[in-house]
């Protein structure tokens, strides 16, 4: 007779990530073009914990304003050919949070079971824990400084 876990909880992960692929399937990296020249920083991202060396990592980078509303400042679809994947994303220096999932079957969507629970691996910057949904901004936020910053994420 245990524990009803309550929950409008789990589906937000999907809500956050599912829109990405439609936007970026073709583009390796999409960046907003600054109107005027500004400082850029290279985010060198390493993703570990990949179980199946196939499909693509679907990566979305958010600033604080966009984190909860899923308006990304940069997105990437990076083909997976090994159990560790590295990529570089150019960004204005600042504080960011990353939400990502591994599109193992290459259908462009985050796989979910009939109740909407994710069944493809996912991860957040700082390896912040999912909390009945995406990790919080407070837990996922990290600084990207010029000229380059390294960051590593292990998929769940």
């Amino acid at each position: 007779m245990p524990l009803p876990i309550l929950s409008p909880i789990l589906s937000p992960i999907i809500a956050a990530l599912a829109p990405i692929p439609a936007l970026v399937l073709a583009a390796a990296i999409f960046l907003p073009q600054p109107a005027v020249a500004e400082a850029r920083a290279k985010l060198a991202l390493t993703v570990t914990g990949i179980k199946d060396a196939k499909g693509a990592l679907m990566i979305a980078v958010f600033d604080q304003a966009g984190y909860d509303t899923d308006k990304a400042v940069a997105q990437a679809a990076v083909p997976v050919t090994a159990t560790t994947v590295s990529t570089t994303i150019d960004l204005p220096p600042g504080r960011y949070g990353i939400k990502m999932f591994h599109d193992v079957d290459g259908d462009g969507k985050m796989g979910a079971n009939p109740f909407g629970i994710p069944i493809e691996p996912y991860g957040f910057s700082n390896n912040a824990p999912a909390q009945f949904g995406p990790a919080t901004w407070a837990a996922a936020a990290f600084d990207v400084a010029a000229p380059a910053t390294s960051h590593a994420i292990a998929l769940n």
């Binding site: 007779m1 245990p2 524990l3 009803p4 876990i5 309550l6 929950s7 409008p8 909880i9 789990l10 589906s11 992960i13 796989g111 079971n113 009939p114 109740f115 909407g116 629970i117 994710p118 069944i119 996912y122 824990p129 999912a130 909390q131 009945f132 837990a139 769940n156």
Partner: protein, 494 residues
């Protein structure tokens, strides 16, 4: 017995009594006066118990009793001075008692869930629980991260499954009880909930539900149809109209019977606190054709709350009968199982207990309730007659003023309207009793009833076997372990 006996049995952990002292961390030994009933809520050693031969303490082993009783229940109640937030949060521990050549061999092992592994490593509670938010560092990406696998067991495909209600079944080696990992019935069904009350047809086919209201929310119910060999034959979805609390359900030979009690998940608060009792809506029952999930009808009854059903059957005119242990309103969610963690047992704290009732659902029109005067819970039927017309239901009830738990085995005969009882006495806490068909027997009375209990005077767990032909004669045989293990919920015989 009061509902509190079942649902508020606390996690009381200071628990120390003769026979288990060695199993408990030294800091606990400073509390020597915990009453014997707290053995029911005492955390066993992390490595488990046994294998250990149980001693025959009375009677004679029935010839032909060969097989194993498996049971599951919460068992990790504290780390140091910290208690689990609720009895229901305790990590599942599966008990196996194997019977061969008149001997009984006990083995108990914790289920190695994600939650347990993390909490054992940290030696503290991390996952969110019945009434706690959990440690913010603990990742919860699906209900399986919180899965305690502590409610029941079912054999399928050569594996023993440890069951919860909001997450996956967890696969165990049926002999060593070693944990193998979550059961994935089909790739796209990973992490789908698998209720703790699967129902088996006499030919071995297994049916079960996935209940959204307990995990992701909503009114959808998934329906598993699993072949006798353990393979998923089909999975479908039905809408029950409301995110009701569903712990158990029922079926006949051709119908699934889903009781939608008016205890609705509003989402207003996490956990059980989000469920709202709406008696004005009554008890709605959805009857679904097993061969075509789209063929459905509804029946209406007065509001009742329940946890457990026995089983149903259908008569030639389409009338459906099933037995349910009903209360007038939900019986937990008011702190039970948490307040008692610290050893506070208040008899009758939640009012009247569940009453064995037969629901009569006519082909058309409202449901009729035939209420027995039998208090009790954990109703069980002869597996040869699951879904078929039958006359017997076993349950446990009674109770003692000084401690939680049942004391009496009952056997209701629906045809004669009479019941039998065997009172273990106030020195026992009695658990669910299961039917075991006797080899070569044909009728329900050609069965043994088997069940476990904690003998409080001895401070030991016991297993007893009765003849279903006359339970008032008392056990045919009783075996006693050298130790006790915590009270559990449900079991299976295989």
């Amino acid at each position: 017995m009061t509902i509190s006996s079942f649902l508020r049995r606390s996690l009381l952990q200071s628990g120390i009594a003769a026979g288990t002292a060695l199993a408990i961390a030294p800091d606990v030994i400073a509390e020597p006066k915990a009453p014997a009933w707290t053995l029911g809520y005492t955390t066993p050693p992390a490595k488990g118990l046994g294998p250990s031969t149980m001693r025959l303490v009375s009677g004679k082993a029935p010839a032909g009793l060969e097989g194993a009783l498996y049971r599951n229940g919460p068992a990790q109640f504290r780390y140091g001075d910290a208690y689990a937030s609720h009895w229901f949060d305790g990590d599942g521990m599966v008990q196996r008692i194997a019977f061969a050549d008149g001997k009984a061999l006990h083995t108990g092992r914790f289920v190695g869930t994600t939650k347990r592994k993390a909490e054992q490593a940290a030696q503290k509670f991390l996952a969110p629980g019945f009434s706690t938010a959990g440690d913010p560092s603990y990742a919860v990406g699906s209900a399986d991260d919180v899965n305690a696998a502590n409610t029941s067991v079912a054999m399928s495909g050569g594996e023993m499954l440890a069951l919860w209600e909001a997450g996956s079944a967890i696969r165990l080696d049926p002999v060593t009880l070693e944990t193998r990992g979550p059961k994935i019935w089909r790739k796209d069904l990973a992490a789908m909930p698998f209720l703790a009350h699967p129902k088996r047809e006499p030919d071995g086919r297994l049916w079960n539900l996935a209940v959204a209201s307990l995990s992701t929310g909503g009114s959808m119910i998934g329906i598993y149809r699993i072949g006798a060999g353990g393979e998923l034959e089909d999975f479908g979805m039905v809408d029950i109209g409301a995110p009701a609390y569903i712990h158990d359900w029922s079926m006949t030979e051709r119908k699934l019977i889903i009781l939608v009690q008016p205890w609705i998940n509003t989402g207003a608060r996490p956990g059980i606190g989000g469920f709202e009792w709406r008696p004005q809506e009554g008890l709605k029952t959805l009857i679904v054709d097993k061969d075509d999930l789209k063929k459905q009808r509804w029946a209406q009854a007065d509001a009742r709350a329940f946890y457990h059903t026995g089983a149903g059957w259908e008569e030639s005119d389409g009338t459906i009968r099933l037995d349910v242990c009903f209360t007038r309103q939900p019986a937990f969610g008011v702190g039970g199982g948490a307040a008692e963690i610290r050893g506070e047992y208040k008899p009758g704290g939640e009012g009247p207990g569940a009453m064995l009732t037969q629901m009569v659902i006519p082909p058309k029109g409202d449901v009729r309730l035939i209420e027995t005067k039998l208090d009790g819970e954990f109703p069980q039927v002869d597996p040869r007659f699951h879904g078929l017309p039958r006359r017997l239901t076993a349950l446990v009830g009674g109770g003692a003023p000084g401690h939680p738990g049942a004391t009496t085995l009952r056997l209701q005969d629906w045809k004669s309207g009479k019941s039998q009882a065997y009172d273990y006495g106030v020195d026992y806490m009695v658990e669910e009793h299961l039917f075991i068909p006797k080899p070569g027997g044909a009728s329900e009375r050609d069965s043994w009833l088997i069940g476990t209990a904690i003998n409080l005077a001895a401070g030991k767990s016991e297993v007893s076997v009765f003849d279903a032909a006359d339970i008032e004669e008392g056990p045919l045989a009783t075996w006693q372990a050298d130790y006790s293990w915590p009270l559990g919920f449900h079991g299976t015989w295989t």
